[in-house]
């Protein structure tokens, strides 16, 4: 049992990947550590429990990564997705450090899948955790227990009480009971605020009621808000979040990976009025994946419907929910509670606008397009006419928010007045906006969490013991 009267060297707020990397590193550096996870044990680990891999730089193939992924290519990828909304020195430091985390992770019991040549596009750039993110968390928690880190579940950090840039005490609720703790250093690794619908409502209005939160319901941003209210410097656009298109039947929280839908490029997508609203074939899906969440969020009722025919159905991975199936377009529209006449008109207009004759190729931008529509479909346009017809309802699925706290290369939190906080560090989603100000790169959140978790743990331990 943790001793709540003791002054710990390092207090970690959070229980996901970044928090555990910080806690374990600090403990290995000799610090006494207490970790506070707001979720109960069964749901521990924040959004990390839904992750699968970590993007890592490497100069030659190894047992978990094929080929090579050099610093410059990694940086170019990051620059492209963020549109320059990043900090080059922090980003390059993270990229370089990503190549050196495997030995430490393995020592903590994390296992990787062997590199999968050819079967996964990501096999070159991303190392896959055997069993996924929850298996990784299990390994870290077992290591943390073995090292004697005190872990408290069902324990939310309510306030880091700062005075002159120094955290003097920490208010928590443990299973609903308030307590006050003391620590020489604090690491904030408590994620973003995407599960806090009231906060999201400030920027998105009542549309949030139709959003699906892909990850944990425990990322309510309480620590983040508390710090920003006390003069900690903010980074990242508070109004922005990473949103993808999901099966609308997904649960409100914690649906994870299986609710994703890849049908859009091979479909006609209509809103609830039965109108098309965007070019479904603009680019390959992995590049468009993250813009469709926003597109659907802007439609009436925040819902859209992907409609395809028997030709297109085998081309994409199904979601976990069965497709809605019908022999005619009208019947399908009725099953999806759309106006059958309107949907019929939209599909007919689309079919008439398809320019025939090109070879269909789902593996590249094949140039099969429509003419004369607003908007046109610019690739993979084929008539939707071979029954049975399949439909999926789509909603915006929120992965994470971009707003965070500003940090330096030692994971030290910075204040609005330009000073450094005396004993406060941050790692993971709560500071990833420093590096990833916009967009997303698969597996990069785990990279930031691991690299900055290790730095924060190291620095906090060193600081506490000086």
């Amino acid at each position: 049992m943790p001793d709540l009267r003791k002054t710990y060297d390092v207090l970690v707020a959070g229980g996901g990947n970044a928090a555990l990397c910080a806690a374990i590193t600090a403990r290995q550096a000799g610090a006494s550590v207490i970790l506070l996870e707001s979720a109960p044990k069964a749901f521990r680990g924040g959004n990390s429990r839904h992750t699968r891999n970590l993007r890592a730089m490497h100069d030659k193939p190894n047992d978990v990564l094929t080929d090579a992924y050099h610093e410059d290519e990694y940086w170019d990828d990051l620059l492209r997705v963020t549109g320059g909304n990043t900090d080059e020195s922090l980003a390059r430091m993270t990229i370089r450090a990503s190549s050196g985390v495997f030995g430490w992770m393995r020592d903590c019991g994390v296992r990787f899948q062997p590199s999968l040549t050819g079967t996964l596009n990501l096999g070159r750039t991303n190392a896959f955790f055997l069993g996924g993110g929850k298996a990784l968390l299990n390994a870290y928690y077992l290591t943390a227990e073995r090292l004697g880190i005190e872990i408290m579940y069902d324990t939310e950090v309510v306030s880091l009480n700062m005075d002159d840039g120094v955290v003097r005490s920490v208010d928590i609720t443990n299973r609903g009971f308030p307590e006050t703790l003391h620590a020489r250093c604090v690491v904030a690794s408590s994620g973003g605020f995407q599960a806090n619908l009231d906060w999201m409502r400030q920027y998105w209005g009542d549309a949030v009621d139709n959003f699906v939160i892909r990850g944990t319901p425990y990322n309510r941003g309480r620590v983040l808000k508390n710090l920003l209210d006390q003069g900690v410097a903010a980074i990242g656009d508070p109004t922005q979040c990473h949103a993808v298109a999901l099966d609308a039947r997904a649960p409100k929280f914690d649906g994870g990976i299986t609710t994703r839908l890849d049908s859009v490029p091979y479909s006609v997508v209509v809103n609830q009025n039965g109108d098309r609203f965007y070019d479904e074939g603009e680019d390959v899906w992995p590049k468009r994946y993250a813009i469709w969440g926003r597109l659907i969020a802007q439609q009436p009722g925040q819902i859209a419907y992907s409609i395809c025919d028997a030709k297109a159905f085998p081309l994409f991975m199904p979601s976990v929910y069965p497709a809605i199936k019908a022999d005619t377009i009208e019947e399908l529209a009725v099953k999806m509670k759309l106006d059958p006449v309107k949907v019929r008109q939209t599909v007919d207009a689309y079919n008439a606008a398809v320019i025939p004759g090109q070879t269909f190729d789902n593996l590249k931008l094949d140039g099969n397009k429509t003419a004369g529509l607003t908007p046109n479909k610019t690739n993979w346009a084929r008539t939707v006419d071979k029954g049975p017809f399949y439909g999926y309802p789509l909603r915006p699925g929120i992965t994470f928010t971009y707003l965070g706290v500003r940090v330096n290369e030692r994971a030290q939190v910075m204040m609005e007045n330009g000073q450094l906080a005396g004993n406060l560090f941050a790692s993971g989603e709560i500071m990833s906006g420093n590096i990833l100000g916009k967009g997303y790169l698969a597996g990069f959140g785990m990279t930031i969490g691991t690299v900055f978790g290790r730095i924060a743990g190291q620095e906090a331990a060193r600081h506490a013991r000086n």
């Binding site: 596009n121 996924g132 990976i257």
Partner: protein, 371 residues
């Protein structure tokens, strides 16, 4: 395989797995399910019998209870496995043997012991049964005649092999058309069976989960002790049979003779393995297992353990007046083992091996969809 609630439930869970695929590195089940997009009842049964129940996927699953989806693949597949034993039993009329399997195995065992005891006492001269016999050739057969042992042994074991083979055939056909079976596939499947590779936690070093997310090699090693112990005992019996039938060397054999050494080492390993596996059932997490399998599992473990222990006791007392009693009890257990063989948990080995063979024939097929 019939459509049942268990099959429906398992199919639903498998479809969730197929949309996730995080566990594909753990064992043979996930790569096999990634080859399919629709799952017939036969496919579900194939996957269920491919599952070794290591539970790695349960503790790694982001959707396992208390998540609202409550995904619990080890339990869902174990439930289907239990039904598949009923489905494939031969002759079909004996399928009910699996319904209350623990009771059945226990009853058959009790009756077998009683039968062998009564018969062996009935055929021995009055007052002779408890008399010590000199350790000379044919001492055992003065209690139970050799021909009786051989006829009953060969007949019951032969029947068991036939019934198991017919069950395996039913299983193979039910999983649909298979790729052709080559030498390489046979070799891979045999290796997987003999090493229990799928209890290795994906990389062969971590093992499986017993009662928490902690990994351990205990179950794999205990199963090895049980399996190889059993095989050594079987080898001992076979060597004895050859000694007697072809060389005219009659039992009992010296302590350092081949059959006695094989039997002793085998008996000790079998005892350790079965008692160890039973002990693990007492501490295991009840969530990722099927309760309905428990009684049959324990009954077979106990039957194997008692076969081994009574064999070792027989060896210890073979020169004393307790020998006839010990032998009758030991042979009673062995008779029970042979009789229930095709209607006990033992069938899992046959279906599991067949499933691994089928998986080996599919090894070069590519997963459907995915990232």
């Amino acid at each position: 395989m019939q459509e049942t609630e268990a099959v429906e439930r398992a199919r639903h869970e498998i479809e969730v797995c197929n949309a996730c695929r995080y566990c594909e590195g753990f064992c043979a089940v996930f790569p096999a399910l990634e080859l399919r997009r629709e799952f017939s009842a036969g496919d579900v049964s194939y996957l269920a019998n491919l599952c070794h129940g290591c539970r790695g996927c349960y503790y790694a699953c982001q959707y396992s209870p208390p998540h609202e989806w409550g995904i619990n693949i080890p339990r869902a597949l174990a439930e289907v496995r239990a039904e598949s034993y009923v489905e494939y039993a031969w002759p079909p009329g004996f399928a009910r043997a699996f319904e209350r399997n623990g009771t059945l195995v226990s009853l058959v065992t009790a009756l077998s012991i009683a039968l062998v005891l009564i018969l062996s006492m009935a055929i021995s001269a009055p007052g002779q049964f408890f008399k010590a016999r000199p350790m000379e050739a044919d001492a055992f057969y003065s209690v139970i005649p050799l021909w009786a042992m051989q006829v009953v042994g060969l007949a019951s074991f032969g029947y068991a092999l036939l019934a198991l083979w017919m069950g395996a055939r039913n299983f193979w056909k039910d999983a649909g058309p298979a790729e052709s079976v080559g030498v390489v596939a046979l070799g891979i499947a045999l290796w997987d069976v003999l090493t229990l590779k799928n209890l290795g936690g994906g990389q062969g070093v971590d093992g499986c989960n017993d009662n928490s997310e902690r990994f351990s090699m205990r179950r794999r090693y205990l199963h090895h002790a049980m399996f190889y112990g059993f095989m050594l005992c079987f080898a001992a019996t076979t060597v004895g049979f050859f000694y007697h039938s072809f060389f005219g060397w009659a039992a009992p054999y010296a302590y350092l003779s081949v059959p006695v050494v094989l039997g002793t080492v085998g008996g000790v390993l079998l005892t350790i393995g079965t008692i160890g596996l039973f002990a693990m059932k007492l501490i295991e997490d009840p969530m990722p297992v099927a309760r309905r399998m428990l009684a049959g599992d324990v009954a077979l473990l106990m039957l194997l353990a008692m076969s081994a222990i009574t064999g070792l006791v027989l060896l210890a007392v073979r020169a004393t007046g307790a020998m006839p009693l010990a032998m009758a009890i030991h042979l009673g257990f062995i008779l029970a083992l042979f009789l229930v063989l095709p209607y006990s948990k033992m069938v899992h080995g046959v279906y599991r091996s067949a499933a691994l063979l089928r998986r080996a024939t599919e090894r070069n097929m590519k997963p459907l969809g995915g990232e």
